[in-house]
């Protein structure tokens, strides 16, 4: 009897420790109880152990982005929709099922966000950026970023990525490749349609403002909704 109680309390303590650990994992940077962390070392050596990204412009945060978005990017690197040879090379001979699993693995991680960019930017530039992100420019038929990427800018399930936790130069670089047509999304490629309307000034303003936003209180992407997007996107079928 006594023994059983002792056993139960040991179990209980272990349970509390375990749930505490999972809670910690979900909120901060614990380790995932999965061999996936071993399998994806080729990813995490550049994108960070938790997919949080590195402090440079080449290896962005991938953690916590919607799984479909991540899958679309992996498939695009593999099949040529996005061109970055080191990524294309790594993914060349991986089947869809595995790419989906890798995507889900990183989608489920939520490591802490990095500190926001601090460098000096003219207030007028930031104001222009904030306007485009939150209101768009109806005169030029440019929708607000938040119309698709969510009011909290943490993305939307299942295919729209968050915009926070990225470096200004990374965001600007991606807008540039969308505009020039070297980065493709599933047709219809809504980001290409938007990017071709943006000037260099717009891109600087938007990327500078986004990179200076504080960490989101709730980093999770918004759930999928039936609300219509301002334009058709192949990555987020409706």
């Amino acid at each position: 009897m006594h023994r059983r109680t002792l056993g139960s309390s040991v179990l209980f303590v272990l349970y509390v420790l375990w749930s505490g650990a999972t809670f910690a994992a979900a909120n901060t940077s614990g380790t995932m109880p999965s061999a996936m962390d071993e399998r994806v070392r080729a990813c995490t050596s550049c994108h960070g152990v938790q997919g949080q990204g590195l402090n440079n412009d080449y290896f962005p945060r991938i953690a916590g982005k919607p799984a479909d978005y991540l899958f679309n990017q992996l498939a695009a690197f593999r099949d040529g929709g996005r061109t970055y040879p080191p990524m294309g090379y790594l993914l060349a001979f991986l089947p869809d099922d595995y790419l989906r699993k890798i995507s889900q693995y990183f989608a489920d991680l939520q490591p802490p966000y990095p500190n926001a960019d601090q460098g000096e930017v003219a207030p007028a530039v930031l104001a222009a950026g904030e306007r485009l992100v939150t209101q768009g420019d109806p005169a030029r038929k440019i929708p607000a970023c938040v119309a698709c990427h969510g009011a909290r800018m943490t993305g939307k399930q299942p295919g729209i990525p968050g915009l926070l936790g990225l470096h200004a130069s990374y965001i600007a670089g991606q807008m540039g490749t969308w505009r020039s047509g070297t980065r493709h999304a599933l047709a219809p490629d809504c980001m290409h349609a938007i990017a071709v309307k943006l000037t260099d000034k717009d891109i600087t303003a938007v990327s500078s403002w986004l990179a200076r936003q504080p960490r989101p209180a709730d980093p999770r992407p918004a759930p999928a909704s039936a609300e219509r997007l301002p334009l058709a996107c192949g990555s987020q079928p409706q």
Partner: protein, 464 residues
Amino acid sequence: MKSTSRLSRALRALRSLSDVANKRRHAVASLACGALVAGLAMSVVLPRAPHVLLIEEARAAEATPAATPATTPGANADTRPDIVKRGEYLARAGDCVACHTAPRGKLFAGGLAMETPFGTLYSPNITPDAQYGIGTWSEEAFFKMMRTGLAQDGRLLYPAMPIAQYTKVTREDSNAIFAYLKSVQPVREPNHKHTLRFPFNQRKLLYGWRTLYFREGEFQPDPTRSVEWNRGAYLVEGLGHCTMCHTKINMLGGSSQSEQFAGGLIPVQNWYAPSLTSDKDGGLGDWSIKDIVDLLQAGISDRGAVYGPMAEVTYHSLQYMTGEDVKAMAVYLKTLPDNRGRKSGPSAPTNTNVFALGEKIYADKCAICHGAKGEGKLQHYPPLAGNQSIEMDSAVNPIRIVLNGGFPPGTMRNPEPYGMPPFAQELNDTDAAAVVTYIRTAWGNHGQPVTARDVNELRNAPLH
């Protein structure tokens, strides 16, 4: 004249059609079925016929009469499902898809740019499209191409097509592959023009190449060997066209018989295809049949994993082959004679400072997976101690793997491979050279040290 030739072609078309029907009748039990099949064949052939004739004429105008094969327009390909299925299997064994499908392109629509030291070649469309593909080809013309390296219009094929190997393919297998290719979705996509530099753009030069390196003829089984060995030899030397990479390519784009399977650097791609002979240094002398089968089919083994161009071969081709066929290939490979012998004796002397730096980097970044003594963790983390891929004379592969990392291919036997991280972004030339030197000379390994310059030269190697 024109109408006569058109008429004679039409007559030949009809004759071949009746041949098709006759063949079918052998295969199916009742006359009714035969008529049905013939009817189906008619419905496939007839609507295309006028179009086909025009193309035939256009092509015949370019070709010399002697070289024009006596082909008949029309799809006289076998349509029996078991033959088509066999053809699909054999097309996998020949890895047709690797070259005849471009990235993001449609299956077998060609257009893949193949960089060669002589310029860029583009693989042709081999879907059954009548205008751009092989829609007008006959079974006979397809076989003639496989056996002789002559296209339907009499032009010589560039040896980027493994004609010196495909010539060994039997008529039956060629027909099955043709039957399969005729069954895929036709794609209306024109072929790209090759951009070869002078003088390599002169197709007549190919006569010279063929005199030196092309021996026409079907695989001849060796009666003193087992059925299994002969099957393996047929696959390795024929459809598998392993020698295209695993034999050194010379200045003329050919490979010498004496160096057969002894390994060589793959031009442009800059990966080293190791020896497949019993050479115990880089070759398969120490390998068990199981290790070879695992490596080829699963992409991983107790001895190492496939990467670079070989990952592509396993991914597109070898993973789909039966256990028996892959084993037969291994059995044949194990009998390739050794002509070099294994290196022995102590490890190469290395600069103590370089070795110490390499050891430190290894402990820091590599040991977590490959083990403190290079023992690895089977089968996902290959051992580095005694690993020929690390030790062999050419340091190209170990340097590239450290710089570029890589996933083994995701295969049916290993669908979720473990990836080796790239280190190009975190190790400078000196550090990368030190760690490669360390793994090539530690634990009794017999490799030679590498220099920062060796590393630097491979930083710009193409990543496909």
